[in-house]
Symmetry: C2
Subunit: 294 residues, 2 copies
């Protein structure tokens, strides 16, 4: 039986230690401080942990892929900083502390986001400079760029901005969630699989798995935002409601939304069952994600 | 004798044709429109032309590196969009037309910049997926990330913001110019050299060449801004003065600043003379850049 909480805690610590090692030396001190501030704000480190767990499932150690996991988290961090900007979601709080632009001003916040995005690709390139890694690195870089790009997170954020105040159909909500959240969760798994040398079939099944838990994760997020309290999730409750954004529970009702997460969880497990490698860890992670309370 | 104007014109056309082919399909239409708008605003395409000219000097054709040249231009385009934002330089005009945020709003402008940066690394990764290119691609990606990153363009922009209204020494002005402008000009040359399979010694000399013309280019920019008229350079005259930024001519005087560009031009030629490949084209380009009138 896997102690998933202990696993998450230990991997989160590994990720945190590693992330800080990438803080720039010789850059303007306010920029380094702003980058440090965003990393210190913490977060679940879900994406890098998924990367690490995937490589373990395929049978590779953490040492070779921890940098890739950090790159994935940096893309996530960049997207939060830019999404929070006054011109975008105009959020004052993130992870329970003031957002980057509230502390460092808008200009530095834009540049701090840019810095994390650039650093992510820098890390992957440097991973690729190691003997024998170049082929994997270009595949990982391509997957991450696709997930982050116009047909991934950036596209999702634009659709989300355009959707404000409009009545959306469930299809639209699903599309936005799949681009804004699903794409990077999927890439976290895919990049780990590529780094670990997964076969084509393993990659396909792991992407199916990641697609299902990515959507489930977003629905849970919506549900927690719908039901939650400010203390529990660290951002103003109902901020999405206030901005009249359509969410899964708003469209489906709470019960049907919960049922959908159950269905997606079982889809994820089905994909895992077809894999020819140990999947207990990924199954436990999926359970944790779908049945989380914050 | 090289007809450098005809060369520039033909390469600029090649770059323009190629850039538009990378516009996303299936992305939100406002995002694609904003990306197209920024590409249509034109510009000298100096960086991608430098990339192409470098590969020609080393003896490679344009077909294999046009995508790399486009990636370099996209990093440049992203940086202009973000630098122009209200929270940064707050520029209303760029290349003679309204800036991205003036036309599409701040949110879309931030995301359009993000999209160009991400697309640049996407293009390099996809170049690396072609048989035999992976090693070159990771080197190019690393060089571009370094030039764009905290110890390159992003760092330079932060130093520049911090310098506003302060009395800067020449050293500071040089540092900012080398980070904000020099780093990407150098990367444009380096990336072309790597793609063309340059030797270590060729790479070193080409970087020296690019370093010199990069600084010269920035001084000329400052001089044109100092002396120019709005019609000639397409942005409000003296906008730098108005923001009390220190520039080369402000610190050195116009004559000494001009003399410095002459010296840098000759340094650039010296580096070229040591190269074991045809350098007439690069020399002609350097001359054109240093003696340009806009």
């Amino acid at each position: 039986m896997i102690d998933i909480d202990a696993y998450l805690e230990s991997k989160r610590e590994l990720v945190n230690r590693s992330l800080f090692q990438f803080l720039p030396v010789g850059a303007p001190s306010v920029l380094t401080a702003a980058m440090r501030y965003n990393l210190e704000a913490g977060g679940k480190r879900l994406r890098p942990v998924l990367t690490l767990a995937t490589t373990e499932a395929i049978g590779a150690g953490n040492e070779s892929v921890i940098n890739i996991a950090c790159a994935v988290e940096m893309v996530h961090t960049y997207s939060l900083i830019h999404d929070d900007l006054p011109a975008m979601d105009d959020s004052d709080l993130r992870r329970g502390v003031p957002t980057c632009h509230k502390v460092y001003g808008e200009a530095v916040a834009v540049l701090t986001g840019d810095a994390f995005l650039t650093l992510a690709f820098d890390i992957i390139a440097r991973y690729g400079l190691i003997e024998g890694n170049a082929d994997k690195a270009v595949k990982i870089s391509a997957k991450l760029a696709e997930a982050a790009g116009t047909r991934g997170m950036i596209g999702g954020q634009v659709f989300d901005l355009l959707a404000e105040g409009k009545d959306l159909a469930l299809d639209d909500v699903e599309k936005i969630a799949s681009l804004k959240t699903g794409a990077l969760l999927k890439a976290a798994v895919t990049c780990g699989a590529i780094a670990a040398g997964a076969s084509k079939n393993q990659l396909k099944l792991l992407e199916e798995f990641a697609g299902s838990i990515g959507t489930a994760f977003q629905i849970i997020d919506d549900l927690l935002d719908y039901e939650g309290t400010c203390e529990e999730i660290g951002k103003p409750v109902g901020s999405d409601q206030a901005r009249l954004k359509a969410t899964y529970p708003a469209l489906l009702g709470i019960e049907k939304a919960r049922a959908k997460t159950e269905k997606l969880y079982h889809d994820a497990l089905e994909a895992l069952e077809k894999l020819d490698c140990p999947t207990e860890l990924l199954a436990a992670l999926a359970h944790k994600l779908v049945y989380r309370a914050n």
